[in-house]
Symmetry: C2
Subunit: 295 residues, 2 copies
């Protein structure tokens, strides 16, 4: 099917963004604001609607696409974003659909990023890749055989809990040595006693190596030759981080099919969340019509 | 579509097996023989045809399904099984199709096992699981969202090269600390100086823990709550191995969606390879007809 424009919504713990994303990925009617500091689920929902003010009355819009922090029910029927305490089991999809009168599709922000990077970013044209976010948390989304993986409860791609240091640092999840416990911003701050942004070259290199180790395991496991990394830690650390991660991939991806695997920076920048949210709706519309899914 | 009987072929480094597998998984006309010790690709192919002698002239057969050691081209157009030196780039699928005059589908034996266990074994009725083989090598196949994963070159599921001991033992692949380098039969023999079958309780427990660690990473990554393990090491070690692996899953799968993940023994036993091979053909026929794939 041919998909028109999408009303896109990116819901994070620190900011909300809304826009209209056109069929070729153009982003217009962009509105952003800090996420309201409220414990009232309806006040927060009103804030969400405000960032759609620029686009919601435009013509030619086929659907609403949303990327939101997890966890959530599969399909985003009810969301409980870790960093947004006002919403616990909030019926986001139905509230938006009722309010806007459009088909509405919700997925977690890391899977949205993967769809966005596969549509128009660093993984464009690739059928097999992981997109990961190294930031306050460490998450990801995986496209394999040209399809976004969902998993039993919709959380496939959660690379933050691949074990990279057996017996290592205690993770918020309760396990030890998860990638998130060793490489997220708050983890780095706890390990080094200073903000991730001030990390020493050694810490940057270790973080890149550990991310590379998790990606190497994923590459070998899934026969998936490309990783796209975004998030404030990965992009903030920049070239030395990516060099260390790539060096670890070169050391640990040695099978015929995994040799040559690459890790590259996410390409969509600040609009990645909105483009990804639009891609969630494009996927949903395509699945709903029973056609093959392109990403 | 309704699939009839399948002419099934299980090609391994030590034995060849052929049979007719009925629509409900019944295995008849079973013929087994040692894999001929030859370097002549055609002599080996003649040996393969011999194990099909019982079934190839039966009526009601819709297709040929083959599980074979890897590596191979995606779809098994050309196979180069690591443990069968006579075949290097051997055009197995076209040779069988020409000889037998039936649609022919080839996949690697670990992916075949996953399909078989999902059809009639320990993962029957599950849409999200990994099946792994811990034996001379360590391999696997993954069914996610109800579909067998292929990956860019057809090797998805290769859990043997998930890193479980960073900086650990050098793997045949060239990396360090891969699961296969720490837990395969030959690796255990090299580590302990005795055959895996004589391993001490400590070695059995460590092997189970390391397999559990790799499975925990996969469970957290893919939101996949069930692992089915077969192969001579896993099944030979038995209950203490599975207890250690499960204990590691309990320690390391702590997310809302991964808590409670289980690892259980493969259920199909000696017929697993043949049932899996038949499942490869059933999948192939279903995909070829453009219908949704059940596994």
């Amino acid at each position: 099917m041919i998909v028109g424009s999408i009303l896109a919504l990116d819901i994070g713990g620190t900011k909300l963004a809304g826009a209209v994303v056109g069929p070729s990925g153009s982003v217009t009617e962009r509105v952003m604001r800090p996420t309201p500091a409220t414990h009232d689920e309806n006040a927060l929902f009103a804030g969400v609607l405000e960032v759609l003010a620029g686009g919601r009355h435009k013509g030619g819009i086929d659907a609403v696409g949303v990327g939101c922090g997890g966890p959530m029910e599969p399909g985003g029927g009810r969301v409980s974003p870790l960093n947004i305490p006002a919403w616990r089991g909030f019926p986001l999809r139905s509230r938006l659909a009722d309010e806007l009168g459009l088909p509405t599709f919700v997925d977690n922000d890391a899977k949205a990023l993967a769809l966005g990077e596969g549509w128009l970013g660093a993984a464009a044209g690739h059928r097999d890749f992981i997109a990961l976010v190294v930031s306050t948390g460490v998450g990801g989304g995986i496209v394999l055989d040209g399809r976004l993986l969902d998993g039993a409860a919709g959380n496939a791609g959660h690379i933050g809990h691949v074990i990279v240091e057996p017996g290592g640092r205690l993770c918020a999840c309760g396990a030890r040595g998860c990638l998130e416990a060793e490489a997220s911003g708050p983890s780095l701050a706890a390990i080094t006693g200073q903000e991730a942004a001030s990390a020493s070259p050694d810490v940057v290199e270790r973080t890149g190596t550990l991310v590379g180790r998790a990606v190497a395991s994923v590459t070998n496991l899934l026969d998936l030759p490309l990783a796209v990394a975004g998030g404030s830690v990965a992009l903030g650390f920049g070239a030395p981080f990516f060099a260390a991660a790539q060096a670890e991939l070169d050391r640990s991806c040695r099978l015929d099919f995994s040799r040559g695997a690459r890790i590259v920076p996410a390409a969509l920048g600040a609009d990645g969340g909105l483009v990804g949210a639009a891609a969630v709706a494009r996927r949903g519309l395509t699945l709903a019509h029973g056609r093959p899914v392109s990403t």
